[in-house]
């Protein structure tokens, strides 16, 4: 039973207000969004902060849903967390991705982090003009949008899981107004 106490303590220490682990679907996405919204409403959070958190959450959750439909059972297991401190919200996700996609994703995130506000706007317009919706339903705009809405760099990490998969962690910070 000690792990319950430890988990509880970890959540408190990291100011986590919501943790979901498991398989991600659109239905789960809607539930997680509703829970986080209720939580922010209950403390009377500023509407502009609320909207930015909601924005980043949606992109984050739908990214996981889109990548969770691969054949392996490893690829389905992911984690999503929200932490709230006095001055900020921290939105974190972790999900397995195929080894061959690591480099591409890393360079995309590096590019996004190297750009300022105007650079991100230009990149957004370039992508929206030139891409079509992928088979997985994405527009390739999610990370750019997360960086724009947060106004912060996206923090990320890749850890090998097995020969085929890496675990991709992503952290976005939204400053409270």
């Amino acid at each position: 039973m000690k792990f319950i106490f430890d988990l509880h303590k970890t959540m408190l220490e990291n100011n986590l207000i919501l943790v979901y682990e498991g398989e991600f679907t659109q239905e789960i996405t809607k539930s997680v969004l509703a829970m986080a919204e209720r939580n922010m409403d209950s403390i009377g959070e500023e509407s502009s902060t609320k909207r930015k958190v909601f924005n980043v959450m949606v992109e984050c959750l739908q990214n996981i849903v889109k990548h969770g439909d691969e054949e392996s059972s490893v690829s389905k297991q992911a984690i999503f967390m929200i932490g709230k401190k006095n001055d900020k919200y921290v939105i974190t996700s972790g999900n397995p991705i195929k080894k061959e996609n690591v480099e591409g994703l890393k360079s995309k995130l590096e590019e996004i982090n190297s750009l300022d506000k105007d650079g991100l706007k230009t990149l957004y317009k370039e992508i929206i003009r030139n891409t079509s919706i992928s088979d997985k339903g994405g527009a390739g705009l999610g990370f750019v949008d997360m960086a724009r809405k947060s106004g912060q760099e996206l923090e990320y990490d890749f850890k090998p899981l097995d020969e085929e998969y890496f675990f991709f962690s992503l952290k976005t910070t939204i400053k409270r107004i």
Binding site: S48, V58, Q62, I128, S132, G137, L141, K149
Partner: protein, 120 residues
């Protein structure tokens, strides 16, 4: 022409497209799982409407939130409206929602259409 009248849901917008009464509106939240599938009938409808449009078309966007996949499809809707003479976009945003205002401004830079911005 048939009328499209979709009730909004927690992840899909409310949509009314009614040629006879001159009502064209997309409002609420747009984060469907399959944005392409969701918007395709809307795009088809606008294409059909474009063959014999009303003298003027006031198209209202009153969105509270949309995800990035929807933003691509909203651009497709706007592009379809570009070909319709007398089409004007009414872009509504909440008075403190700078991101939604900016999103409208960006769309207006991407298409050749008249945008009127409305705070509410």
């Amino acid at each position: 022409m048939n009328i499209i009248n979709l009730e909004g849901a927690e992840d899909t917008p409310k949509i009314i497209l009614d040629k006879t009464n001159g009502i064209f509106e997309i409002s609420g939240r747009s984060l469907p799982e399959d944005s392409q599938g969701f918007y395709q009938p809307i795009l088809d409808w606008i294409e059909e409407y474009g063959k014999d449009p009303n003298p003027s078309t006031e198209f209202i966007f009153k969105l509270e939130y949309f995800n990035t996949a929807s933003s691509k499809l909203i651009l497709d809707v706007l592009s379809a409206l570009e070909d319709i003479d007398g089409a004007v976009i009414q872009w509504y945003y909440l008075e403190d929602d700078e991101d939604m205002q900016e999103a409208g401004e960006e769309f207006s830079e991407l298409v050749d259409l008249t945008f009127e911005f409305q705070e509410y």
